[in-house]
């Protein structure tokens, strides 16, 4: 009974206290059953303080694909809260940047509009030219037909011409009662 109690107390405390550790080292001096028990516990007690505690960064563990909301992310080393712009210089720089952007936008818009206008104008002119060409062709064919008719009329007898003349107005007339 008596030897067991000190054993238990020794086994618990050795890692923290130095002298008891020494006692542990002087195991051979003590009775044989004691060192056996101490031996078994010694490696655990000596290993604990030696074990290096690694941080997550040191271990290079791949990070889990966890999503952190945009509002939660806080950049380190940055000032907390809003940063106001109240001095004239910074306001002027912002204004200059904004103005330049706007100018660029307007310029590009105008360029686009002008190009579109040019394209439209070209298309319109093309269409007009096509229409003119068509009209000319039509006139030409009309003239051709007229000439051919005149020739025919010249060749035919005067009686036939008279008949044709009398017939023509009759044919053309249209009346809706």
């Amino acid at each position: 009974m008596a030897p067991t109690k000190p054993q238990s107390s020794k086994s618990r405390k050795p890692p923290s206290s130095g002298p008891k550790g020494k006692v542990g080292k002087s195991k051979p001096k003590g009775p044989p059953p004691k060192p056996q028990q101490v031996k078994t516990k010694r490696p655990t007690s000596s290993a604990k303080p030696k074990r290096k505690v690694y941080t997550e960064k040191e271990l290079d563990i791949p990070k889990l694909n966890m999503i952190t909301p945009a509002g939660v992310q806080k950049p380190k080393g940055k000032k907390k809260g809003k940063i106001f712009v109240d001095d004239q210089e910074s306001m002027m720089t912002i204004l200059a940047i904004v103005n330049a952007e706007k100018e660029g936008q307007i310029e590009s818009k105008m360029m686009k509009a002008r190009q579109m206008e040019e394209i439209r104008e070209a298309r319109r002119q093309e269409a007009e030219a096509r229409q003119q060409h068509k009209r000319e062709k039509l006139e030409e064919t009309k003239d051709l037909i007229r000439k051919s008719r005149k020739r025919k009329s010249d060749t035919t007898s005067t009686d036939a011409e008279k008949v044709a003349k009398t017939e023509k107005p009759g044919k053309k007339r249209v009346s809706f009662g």
């Binding site: 809003k82 940063i83 106001f84 712009v85 109240d86 004239q88 910074s90 306001m91 002027m92 912002i94 204004l95 940047i97 904004v98 103005n99 952007e101 706007k102 100018e103 307007i106 818009k109 105008m110 509009a113 206008e117």
Partner: protein
């Protein structure tokens, strides 16, 4: 009441710049500065202040005085330019007309017969346009002027000047954004802060 942050300033200037030209700089540094003394410079300097999501264009000395009034008790100060929406956009109010009008880049003159429809909240029709600035692109902010060159509001062009010439008379030439009729129509909500 607080000064604007950088993104807020950028948003505000972008909106103002769509209506005004490069002369917008004079808002920040009035041209009379060079002639006045250094003390009056600081007092005549105007700043932008955000209060209850509304942006005010205020004389700096007045803004400094206003700090002595508690936030909930302060209703308004200076000229209200507009307000920030919950999505971070900026809406110009009709009260900003006096700030925009002298610096406007493009203008549309409305005929006498088109003034009333516009002041009742209608868009500017092509038939109502007296004349407009040349080389104006579509979707560009324009100042709407009535008879006697009086600014009666502002809007956004529906078509570019060249395209608008070919429009039929009943087509919309300029979309209304704000008109001075709002002072009566929006009387209840124009100056309220929630």
């Amino acid at each position: 009441m607080r000064p604007l942050t950088e993104p807020e300033t950028r948003t505000l200037f972008t909106k103002l710049a769509s209506y005004t030209g490069p002369s917008l700089k004079t808002l920040l540094s009035p041209p009379s500065q060079s002639t006045t003394t250094s003390q009056s410079q600081s007092t005549s300097r105007h700043v932008f202040r955000l209060h209850h999501s509304r942006v005010y264009y205020v004389r700096e000395s007045l803004a400094n005085h206003a700090t002595s009034i508690s936030r909930h008790a302060l209703l308004s100060l200076g000229t209200c330019l507009g307000k920030f929406t919950k999505t971070g956009q900026f809406r110009l109010h009709i009260t900003a007309l006096d700030v925009i009008a002298p610096h406007a880049r493009y203008r549309v003159w409305v005929k006498q017969n088109g003034e009333m429809p516009f002041l009742y909240g209608g868009n500017v029709l092509k038939a109502h346009v007296g004349r407009w600035s040349e080389d104006c692109a579509a979707g560009q902010g324009v100042l709407v002027l009535g008879g006697g060159d009086v600014a009666i509001g502002f809007g956004v062009t529906a078509r570019s000047t060249a395209e608008a010439r070919r429009l039929d008379p009943t087509a919309v030439a300029t979309f209304r954004q704000a008109d001075i009729g709002e002072y009566l129509r929006e009387e209840d909500t124009l100056f309220t802060t929630t």
